[in-house]
Symmetry: C2
């Protein structure tokens, strides 16, 4: 058991709108930090430490690597600040790390700027999250890896692309109701999803999440607050999927989920709402199973029967997920926790989930290389 | 006080030789991990978690960003692995982070490959550790920033380049005795140091540390072992030196040192041996003062009077430091702890410090942006 974690609470959360706005990462960071502090009713002087997650990217023209010191410049405080990075799973990993450190009030910040760069640069930069030597040299960039996972899943379990279309449709329907989502007020029809351009068989454009800019922040504390961190688990798997036992069961998710439910003394049935890592539609489908919400091979039932819809029994990705809120890399894992905190507090307006007292966040780095699972509870 | 850290011990250490050998980072990592495990008399199956530090660099052709998952591939274990990165201070920051997490046996690994890339690429990549917008656009790359610090220090306190030459000479003399150092068996004369090419007034080539490849590892544990981690402190300052109160006192070092001595209930007088971050000779001189080994403005006395020489009262950088062992970025902070553990255990042969029971390590990221101070004690 990796727990022995002391009681932790979320005192406040904040995020920027995710989108293609061309501002500096410092500006995105400042906005998210200010909103989280205001939400927690705290002054910056009350922070004891910061964990920041950001990829070290050439995708924007800032050319900055030493982001802990940049955060020091933003908050003008002499406190410990470190950077924890795990590519697309960086936000969750930073929160996990912060949960393990004995500072009273810790800020967790995810920030990145991905939109706007030329596509070949973005593709190349994102590829660095996966295996270069064995896989990418053979053409296995992320859409291709995940497309192979989908093909394997279809042949093993009989699901079809129609199931993935429903996942995309659901997440766009939710995102259209989220003012922080890139696709806010831009619902997408099933027909448009079906007819979008092919990316890598069986994926078309609407199976893939969208690269955006933004920042998200959360303040965790030893002091009691209304949102309790019931569980915090992280697991790691080898880099290249070809090295794994299975393409269609991601062991890092399974291990992290098992650990998280053990820490929380809960089962998957106790979860009221979840944010899962839908970098590609198939990844959300696998998450249903690897997190324990469905038996192996039966995940598609959850979307076919509407169980994971906003008005279903277990709404998944009410924020719109990576698909429709957008995926700015490191902020994603923190934004999931922002959404859960807002859901548990009943602040989500049009996309509010009924009876949301216990929420689960699932964030992935790479094709299943680093996975965090967090469970939050409204006290 | 950032402490509340539970008792931690170093069970084993290991490192590769630092140099220009052209091997994969995986190969360097594997060697350092194997050596640390052997030193600890542990099997890889006994590890409970890993913190890895590596820069996310284009300086080598591996193009890999997701290093936690690469470590999973090396150790073939399903355990939590995270990456903590703080440019040149990454090794110390990773150790600091690991000290705060409640896993029984944690591996801390620093690995990077810097040598061999074309100089403009290395320069550009290293620049990402500093402020791009306000400083580097004006020509303030790291040698230039530190040269300005030296000029300011000379004018304020009356030291001269002759003092810096003595620091370089001492570190080369020590490194010549360290089989893991790049300059092993390659002592350098004072004449050669004086006559080397100008880099940025007042620096010549021998004021600057050398970029190398390598890895270093340490295993820390709750289980009692002969080396105790008496203190672990990290502080952060803003990115650009122009924003600071002083160019010649680095506050992150001062805060981290104050915190570390408080945790250890020791004073600077209690330290028998230290590894300090001599990225440039002036940085070692400032460290004498900011760590409390000398009064402000009087640091040069320590080198003039031979106090910090290998046979002096307080030997500093017996390993040869960044100057002569070499500076592979993230491994540096871990290698300092490897050297201290070896010194405290009396395993350093020709460069063994007499009566070394308490050692201090001081690692910097950027031009004073992130600083860690660790104090180790032989039980």
């Amino acid at each position: 058991m990796q727990s022995k974690m002391e009681s932790r609470y979320i005192r406040g959360v904040g995020m920027t709108k995710f989108g293609v706005e061309d501002r500096s990462t410092m500006s995105f960071s400042q906005e998210a930090i200010s909103k989280a502090l205001a939400d927690a009713d705290m002054k910056v002087g009350e922070l004891d430490a910061v964990v920041v997650s950001t990829v070290d990217s050439k995708m924007n023209d800032e050319r900055q690597r030493h982001y802990a010191a940049m955060v020091a410049s933003i908050i003008k405080r002499k406190i410990p600040i470190i950077r924890i990075e795990a590519v697309c799973g960086g936000g969750g990993a930073a929160f996990w790390g912060a949960c393990r450190m004995k500072f009273n009030n810790m800020l967790v910040l995810g920030v990145d700027k991905v939109a706007g760069a030329p596509t070949p640069i973005v593709t190349q930069e994102i590829m660095h999250a996966g295996d270069n030597f064995w896989e990418q040299e053979e053409g296995l960039i992320f859409p291709a890896i995940n497309a192979l996972v989908a093909q394997k899943y279809f042949s093993q379990y009989g699901a079809t692309h129609a199931d993935l279309e429903l996942i995309s449709f659901k997440n766009h329907a939710n995102g259209a109701k989220n003012p922080n989502a890139y696709f806010y007020k831009k619902p997408v029809t099933l027909e448009k999803i079906r007819e979008s351009q092919m990316i890598a068989t069986p994926f078309n454009l609407f199976d893939c999440s969208i690269s955006v800019n933004g920042a998200a922040a959360a303040i965790i504390s030893h002091d009691k607050a209304d949102i309790k961190v019931k569980a915090s688990a992280l697991h790691t798997d080898c880099l290249a999927p070809f090295e794994r036992d299975s393409l269609t069961e991601w062991s890092a998710t399974k291990y992290a989920a098992k650990e998280a439910f053990k820490q929380a003394a809960l089962t998957p049935k106790d979860i009221h709402v979840a944010e899962v890592h839908d970098a590609f539609t198939i990844v959300e489908l696998l998450a249903y199973e690897d997190l324990g919400f469905a038996k192996k091979g039966e995940g598609a039932k959850l979307i076919r029967e509407g169980i994971v819809n906003l008005d279903g029994k277990l709404p998944i990705n009410p924020s719109g997920g990576l698909k429709a809120r957008g995926h700015p890399i490191s902020p994603t894992g923190v934004a999931q926790l922002v959404e859960l905190a807002d859901q548990l507090r009943g602040r989500c307006g049009e996309r509010q989930v009924r009876r949301a007292n216990v929420g689960l966040a699932h964030n992935i780095g790479g094709a299943g290389g680093t996975v965090t699972v967090h469970i939050l509870e409204k006290r």
